[in-house]
Symmetry: C2
Amino acid sequence: MVLPRAARTQRRTRIQEEKEELILEAALDVFATHGFRGTTIDQIADVAGMSKPNLLYYFRTKEAMHRALIDRVLDNWLDPLREFDAEGNPVSEIRSYIRRKLEMARDFPRESRLFANEILQGAPHIEDELKGPLKSLVDEKAEVIRSWAKAGKIAKCDPYHLIFAIWSTTQHYADFDVQVRGVLGEERSGEGRFEDAARFLEQLFVSGLEIRDGGA
Amino acid sequence: MVLPRAARTQRRTRIQEEKEELILEAALDVFATHGFRGTTIDQIADVAGMSKPNLLYYFRTKEAMHRALIDRVLDNWLDPLREFDAEGNPVSEIRSYIRRKLEMARDFPRESRLFANEILQGAPHIEDELKGPLKSLVDEKAEVIRSWAKAGKIAKCDPYHLIFAIWSTTQHYADFDVQVRGVLGEERSGEGRFEDAARFLEQLFVSGLEIRDGGA
DNA sequence: TGATAATTTGACCGGTTGGTAAAACATTAC
DNA sequence: GTAATGTTTTACCAACCGGTCAAATTATCA
């Protein structure tokens, strides 16, 4: 038989698993920097070190590769938020959420950029996920934050915009990396910038959410 | 004569000015959502309501359109930071900088996304601007912020990362608009979200930068 | 009005793109 | 070993891409 992988019920051979991984790795590289439409199959094949028809044997279309990547990334992307614990100490929960997101920006910048590209271009492939699972999870965690505020453990604030602020500030170091490095200059563009960012952001959010006399 | 606009020394006709504007308007639409490589001249021509050769009469290449847009946007993009006044009151300067950036995200989302796309894709067309004029301006303003901190007017913090945080949180509402609206749900996706965001961000940054006993 | 310059169009071109067909080659199962 | 299955390659195609050209049309102005 000559059916490509997607048509089979079960993953079979070792070679399949390896090649699919190799392809997705290459595809991540290219999609992350050029977006869906700006990416060509030839480019991916080139990075993966195989011929285009060979690549198309494993993923029948460009869409299929993109979808496989998006599914995987979206899931990982939400992990740090899932860990957000309602029972924990508010300040340290927020602090460690920031730290985890920042680590992801540092360790998986391509994944972050793939996601950013998708959203920037109007999320044509993941609108349902945004309005479904993603929204549900955020709703749930927003409720946790709201209850902390109500209990007087942190300052009153809109929990949704708090989450947006944590997302944007942390992902900025992956998505806008070129700009960050351009502005910081060569001498401050080492990995140390992530520690500086962590220090700053923890300070900002922790003291920004501290309860004080003037409240609200 | 039949020389396209770029070759002429002076802007001549009314029709030229109108058409160029029309084209850039259309190009902004398309570039902002598909990025440079993902955009086709046909698409732009279509949105602009003219034929491709006609469009190419005004801008000889896709690059030329993109460059014209980028130049214009980059300049506007920096305006709010330029207004940042060393002599003003620190807290209200930061507050109004946030407000201005948020207004830009609300009123010029396509411009923000064009810029974001360019950075995401590695800033191939504006690397020089990033390391030159942009860096210089940020360096200058960072020095102002540092002096405020030294004078005890705001909490000590890394001024570069403060600026990054303001950029990312505000632009988030333009660049990640689909996601923001998806998460907030239909009922909170009106223009009111910008006011909520402003309230939240002003609170976050102002009290996050306030001097307190345990200070930084 | 007519001459001149500015604008618009349709037909076209070479290169690239996403994807296919079929056969050659490699691997595995018996 | 050999038959069946899985993998890779070569050759290809139709559509699309950025861009050109020359002719047709329209605006400008003496």
